[in-house]
C-alpha cells in the first residue's frame, strides 16, 4: 500500500464453512431432561399430520457451534471496533447496561398475556418511556407498537388517513421531497396514497414556493425528514407547516435524524403534527446486523383517538392497564405491544443521559459532523454548502473524473480500517458520500478517518486502479452482485 494506514493492521482470521458442511449423524449440542409425564405415541397422536424426518437440518456439537459463530463474527465490522459512519443510520455506541437490564428475569420472561396485576413492571416501563419520548418530541401522545421506522411511517400515515376520513375526505396524495428515504414513498403506497414528489431548492431544502403550488385539498400530508437527508435543518419549517395547515394538510416528520435535535429543539414546537422515532438510531438500541428496530409514533392531541390499540392507561385504583376500547383507533399494526425489549434499552439510555446528557450528546453529534466536513472540504466536492447538522453529504464529482465512484472510495475505506459511509444516497446528490459520525467518536478517531479519506483522494489522482480494485485486505474481494441476482442461490443444498 502506498499510504500507511494508522487505524488498522491485517491479521489472520479463521476460515469457516457453512454449518451444514460440518454436520454428521450422531453429533448433538442438546440434552433434554427426563420426561416426567407418559410418552406419547406420535403416530397415534398425529396420524397423517406426523412428520417423518427433518431433512438436512444440521447435527453438530456445542464447541463447533461456538467456534462457528465466533469465527463468523470476526468477519464483521462493528461499532465496537471503530467508527461506523453510515449516514442516516446513527451508528452510536450501544451501552451494555441496556443489555443487562433487558435480560432481567421478569422482563425477559414476561408473557404478553399475563394478568395486568403481575405486569405492572412492564406497564411502568411502557408508561415512563412514553412520557420521556412525548417530552423529547414536544408532542402530546405516543404509540410504541410499531416494530421499526418504516412500520412507524405506516402507522403514522394510517392515522393521517383516519384523521382526514373523520373530516369526511381521506384525501389522495402524500407529498414527499426528492431527498427522502425510500421507505416514505413505499409506505404511502401501502396506505393507498399516491405519491407526489417535491423538488428541493438549490440549498437542498424544501422549495416553499413549489410546496405552496402543489399543496391543495387532495394532499393528506407532507412527509418531511428534518434535518433532511443532506443533514440540513429545514430553516423555513414554520412556513412549511403553515402552508400544509392552511389547506388542512398534516406535517409528518420522519424522525430518522432526531439525533440532531434531542434536547435542543422539539418537533412539536415547530409545527409537526406527528412523527416517528427510531429507537435503534437515536436511543442507542443495538442495530444487530439489521434489527430489531423500534419505531414509536408521537402525535399531537387531535390525533390521539386514532392511535393503534391498546394504549396504556392509569386506572382509578392507581395501577396501570391496557385500554382496548378505542373506537376511532386505526387498529393494530403488530401483535402484542411492540418490541418491548427495545423499550427497556431505550429507557436505560435516557436514564443514563438525563436532560444534560441528551443535550450534550446532540451537541457532540453536530460538532463531529462539522469537524468531518471541515476536514474533508477541498478533498471532496461539497454539493450543498448549507450548514450541516449531524451529518454531511459530499459527492464523488472530483474523483469521478478519474473513473472512481463513491462505492469505490467506500471499498477503499475498508482497507483503512473503517466501515464505509452511506453510498449513493440521497438521490438528489449524484455519487453521494453521506457521512454521520455520531457523538460516539473521539477527536482521535475522527482524525484517523479524515486522514484516511484524504489519503484515498490522493490515491485516486496517483493510482486510481488501486482504489477501483479495493478492498485489498478483506477475506473476500468485491463480490459479483450481478451474478447473485441473475441466478439466485438463496439456500444451501447437499451436493
Amino acid at each position: 500500500m502506498k499510504h500507511v494506514t494508522r487505524k488498522a493492521t491485517r491479521h489472520v482470521s479463521q476460515n469457516e464453512g457453512l454449518v451444514f458442511e460440518k454436520s454428521s449423524a450422531g453429533k448433538a449440542a442438546w440434552k433434554l431432561p427426563p420426561l416426567d409425564v407418559p410418552e406419547v405415541d406420535t403416530e397415534k397422536a398425529l396420524g397423517a399430520s406426523g412428520r417423518k424426518d427433518l431433512g438436512n437440518m444440521p447435527e453438530v456439537s456445542e464447541i463447533e457451534i461456538i467456534r462457528h459463530f465466533t469465527r463468523l463474527s470476526t468477519w464483521n465490522y462493528a461499532i465496537d471496533l471503530g467508527m461506523y459512519p453510515l449516514g442516516s443510520c446513527t451508528m452510536k455506541y450501544n451501552p451494555r447496561v441496556n443489555e443487562v437490564v433487558a435480560r432481567l428475569d421478569g422482563l425477559a420472561n414476561g408473557h404478553p398475556y399475563q394478568p395486568e396485576k403481575i405486569s405492572q413492571g412492564a406497564l411502568r416501563i411502557l408508561k415512563t418511556l412514553s412520557e420521556c419520548l412525548v417530552e423529547i418530541t414536544g408532542m402530546d401522545a405516543i404509540t410504541l407498537q410499531p416494530a421499526a421506522g418504516a412500520h412507524g411511517e405506516l402507522t403514522g400515515l394510517l392515522m393521517v388517513r383516519a384523521h382526514h376520513h373523520s373530516k369526511g375526505h381521506p384525501r389522495k396524495k402524500i407529498l414527499i421531497p426528492d431527498s427522502a428515504h425510500g421507505t416514505n414513498p413505499a409506505t404511502a403506497a401501502t396506505v393507498g396514497y399516491a405519491v407526489e414528489n417535491l423538488k428541493s431548492n438549490s440549498q437542498g431544502m424544501v422549495d416553499t414556493a413549489a410546496l405552496a403550488a402543489q399543496m391543495n385539498e387532495d394532499v393528506a400530508a407532507l412527509m418531511l425528514t428534518n434535518p433532511n437527508t443532506l443533514g440540513v435543518f429545514e430553516q423555513e419549517i414554520h412556513k412549511i407547516a403553515d402552508i400544509m395547515h392552511a389547506k388542512g394538510g398534516l406535517l409528518y416528520m420522519d424522525g430518522a435524524n432526531m439525533n440532531a435535535l434531542v434536547g435542543k429543539v422539539r418537533p412539536g414546537d415547530f409545527g409537526v403534527d406527528l412523527m416517528h422515532l427510531n429507537l435503534h438510531k437515536t436511543f442507542s438500541t443495538p442495530h444487530g446486523g439489521g434489527g430489531p428496530g423500534s419505531g414509536p409514533v408521537a402525535v399531537k392531541q387531535f390525533l390521539e383517538p386514532f392511535l393503534p390499540k391498546p394504549v396504556v392507561i392509569s386506572k382509578p385504583n392507581g395501577t396501570l392497564g391496557f385500554d382496548y376500547s378505542r373506537p376511532q383507533s386505526v387498529g393494530r399494526v403488530r401483535a402484542f405491544y411492540g418490541n418491548f425489549g427495545m423499550f427497556v434499552r431505550a429507557l436505560a439510555y435516557i436514564f443514563a443521559n438525563g436532560p444534560d446528557g441528551l443535550r450534550q450528546t446532540t451537541e457532540d453529534a453536530v460538532l463531529n459532523a462539522n469537524y468531518i466536513r471541515k476536514g474533508l472540504e477541498g478533498s471532496y466536492d461539497l454539493p450543498y454548502s448549507t450548514p450541516s447538522m449531524h451529518e454531511v453529504v459530499f459527492s464523488d464529482k472530483l474523483q469521478a473524473k478519474k473513473g472512481v465512484r463513491t462505492m469505490d472510495i467506500a471499498k477503499r475505506l475498508i482497507d483503512y480500517g473503517f466501515h464505509p459511509y452511506t453510498t449513493a444516497f440521497p438521490l438528489i446528490v449524484p455519487g453521494a458520500l453521506m457521512i454521520e459520525p455520531t457523538e460516539s467518536e473521539s477527536k482521535e478517531e475522527m482524525d484517523l478517518f479524515i486522514e484516511a479519506m484524504r489519503s484515498i483522494a490522493e490515491e485516486v489522482t496517483e493510482d486510481a486502479q488501486l482504489v477501483l480494485d479495493a478492498p485489498h485486505s478483506t477475506r473476500v474481494s468485491r463480490l459479483d452482485e450481478v451474478a447473485a441476482a441473475r441466478k439466485p442461490i438463496l439456500r444451501w443444498k447437499p451436493q
Binding site: L18, G263, P292
Partner: protein, 459 residues
C-alpha cells in the same frame, strides 16, 4: 456523560478547527424561537447501579416467580445459554444491515444458513432474512399472494391468532382487499364446506394457521386442494415453530408465514420476535424483505451478498413489494443458533416432549372439565371449557404462583367459559397437577386458600 469520548479541551479544539465561536453557532440554522431554552423534563442522569436497581424493581413487579400456562402466539421454551453468549459479541450486536458485503460476511453467511434451515423446516424452497413478527409476516404473505394472483380478496380462518387477524385487517383496509372469515368446526379445524362457499374467482389466497390458535393441526392437503382448484394460493401461518419438529410442514402451501419466537427468543412481554416468510422459488421476486444470496468474489471465492434488491423500497420506492427496511436480524440470529443447537434430532425430541406434556395435561383436565376440539390432532395447546369463569380459576391459580390459560371470551365469546392452555417442555408435571386440581375446586373454595395448601403446591 460517560458515553461521550471528548474532553472539554477536545470540544474547544474542534470548535476552533471549524471556525465556530461556540456550540450555539452550529445550531444557528434552527430559528431561535423554536430552540429549547430549558432542560427536558425527564428523569435526571443516573449512575449505572441506579439504572440496574430501577429495572430490577420493575422486573420484580412483573411476575418473575410464576409458572405459566400461557401460549397463544408467545411460547416459553428453554433458551440454550450459548445463544446470548454468541449474540452478545459486539461484531453481531453492533453491526448494521450488511450493505457492505466485504466487511459483513459473518452476518451474511449466518442469514444464508437461517434461510436454508427455515426452508428445510417449512418444506418451502426459499425463505427471507426475517419480518417483524408472525402477525406482519402473515399479513405481508397475504399481500404477496394478491400481487402474484392479481386477485383482490383473502379468505381467512377464524382460528388464526385474533391479533394477526386484526393486523391483516389494518393493512387490508386501504388496499381494497376484501376479507372473508370462515368459521371452525367442532374439531377445531376450519370448516371445509364453508370454505368452499367462501372462495370466489377473486380469492387470491386462503390464509390459515396451523397449528391454529386452538393448537389444532389443520389438514394442509385438503386445504391446498380446495384453494388450488379455484386458482387461489394457500398461505399458512405458523405461530408455534417447535411444532415443525414433529408436525408435517405444509409442503403443498404456496407461502408459509412464520413466527420463529419459539426458537430461542425470550418472551420479552411480546417482542422483539422474528417473523419470516418462505415460499417457492418461482415466487421469490414478489417476496418482501431482505434476501441473502451466494456468489463469488473476483478470485472465485465463495461469498454472500444481499440480493434481489430491486424488490425493495430503497430502489423501487412506491413500487416496492413492501415498505420494510430494518428487520429482526439479531433475533433471527438467536433463531439460527437455536436451530443449530437442536438440529435434525433435537428438534424432534423437543417437539415430542411438548406433545407429551400437553397430552398429559389435556387428559388430566378432561377428568373434571371439557376439553374441546378432540376430533383433530393438536400440538402443545388445547382449549378447556369449565363451568366456572376462567378468570376466577386464574385468580385462584395466581395464589399458587401459577398463571392459568388464556380466557377466550374476549376473542371467541361463543366458546363461553373456555381458556387456551399451553404446555411446553418447561411445564412440570407438578404444576399441571396443581392447575388441574385448583381448576376443579368449587368456586367457594377460592375465597381463602389455606396456608398449608399453598405450602404443599409450591414445594
Amino acid at each position: 456523560m460517560r458515553y461521550l469520548p471528548k474532553s472539554p479541551a477536545d470540544r474547544e479544539a474542534i470548535l476552533k478547527a471549524i471556525g465556530a465561536r461556540s456550540i450555539d453557532d452550529l445550531f444557528a440554522p434552527i430559528p431561535a424561537e423554536y430552540r429549547l431554552n430549558r432542560d427536558l423534563q425527564i428523569p435526571r442522569q443516573m449512575a449505572e447501579s441506579e439504572i440496574v436497581d430501577w429495572f430490577r424493581e420493575r422486573s420484580r413487579e412483573n411476575g418473575d416467580e410464576y409458572t405459566s400456562f400461557l401460549g397463544a402466539g408467545a411460547y416459553l421454551h428453554y433458551r440454550p445459554v450459548i445463544i446470548d453468549a454468541l449474540i452478545s459479541r459486539g461484531e453481531f450486536l453492533t453491526a448494521y444491515t450488511p450493505y457492505q458485503a466485504e466487511v459483513s460476511q459473518g452476518t451474511l453467511q449466518s442469514i444464508f444458513e437461517f434461510q436454508t434451515m427455515i426452508s428445510e423446516l417449512t418444506g418451502m424452497e426459499v425463505a427471507n432474512a426475517s419480518m417483524y413478527d408472525g402477525s406482519t409476516a402473515a399479513t405481508e404473505a397475504a399481500m404477496m399472494a394478491v400481487r402474484l394472483t392479481g386477485r383482490h380478496s383473502v379468505v381467512l380462518a377464524r382460528s388464526i391468532h385474533p391479533e394477526y387477524q386484526e393486523v391483516l385487517s389494518t393493512y387490508a383496509q386501504h388496499q381494497g382487499l376484501g376479507l372473508t372469515t370462515v368459521r371452525f368446526g367442532d374439531d377445531g379445524r376450519i370448516d371445509l364446506t364453508q370454505l368452499q362457499k367462501a372462495i370466489t374467482p377473486q380469492t387470491a389466497c386462503v390464509l390459515i394457521q396451523s397449528p391454529n390458535f386452538f393448537g389444532t393441526i389443520e389438514d394442509h392437503t385438503a386445504l391446498a386442494d380446495i384453494a388450488h382448484k379455484s386458482g387461489a394460493m394457500l398461505v399458512v401461518s405458523i405461530a408455534e415453530a417447535i411444532s415443525l419438529g414433529i408436525v408435517e410442514p405444509p409442503r403443498q402451501a404456496d407461502i408459509v408465514a412464520m413466527e420463529a419466537q419459539s426458537f430461542g427468543v425470550p418472551l420479552g412481554f411480546g417482542g422483539p420476535y422474528c417473523g419470516v416468510i418462505a415460499t417457492r422459488e418461482q415466487y421469490v421476486r414478489q417476496m418482501p424483505g431482505r434476501l441473502v444470496g451466494q456468489t463469488t468474489d473476483r478470485n472465485g471465492k465463495r461469498g454472500f451478498v444481499l440480493t434481489l434488491a430491486t424488490r425493495e423500497q430503497h430502489i423501487r420506492r412506491e413500487k416496492a413489494t413492501s415498505n420494510i427496511c430494518t428487520n429482526q436480524a439479531l433475533v433471527a440470529l438467536m433463531v439460527n443458533i437455536f436451530m443449530t443447537v437442536y438440529g435434525k434430532v433435537g428438534l424432534r425430541e423437543l417437539a415430542k416432549q411438548n406433545l407429551a406434556k400437553a397430552a398429559y395435561a389435556a387428559k388430566e383436565f378432561s377428568r373434571h372439565a371439557k376439553v374441546l376440539f378432540t376430533g383433530a390432532p393438536r400440538f402443545n395447546e388445547f382449549v378447556v371449557q369449565t363451568t366456572t369463569d376462567p378468570y376466577d380459576i386464574n385468580n385462584r391459580l395466581l395464589e399458587h404462583k401459577i398463571v392459568g390459560g388464556l380466557p377466550l371470551k374476549k376473542f371467541y365469546p361463543e366458546l363461553g367459559n373456555a381458556a387456551l392452555w399451553c404446555c411446553t417442555e418447561m411445564t412440570g408435571r407438578q404444576s399441571i397437577d396443581t392447575a388441574v386440581r385448583v381448576a376443579a375446586e368449587p368456586t367457594s373454595a377460592s375465597k381463602s386458600v389455606p396456608e398449608a395448601d399453598v405450602e404443599e403446591v409450591t414445594r
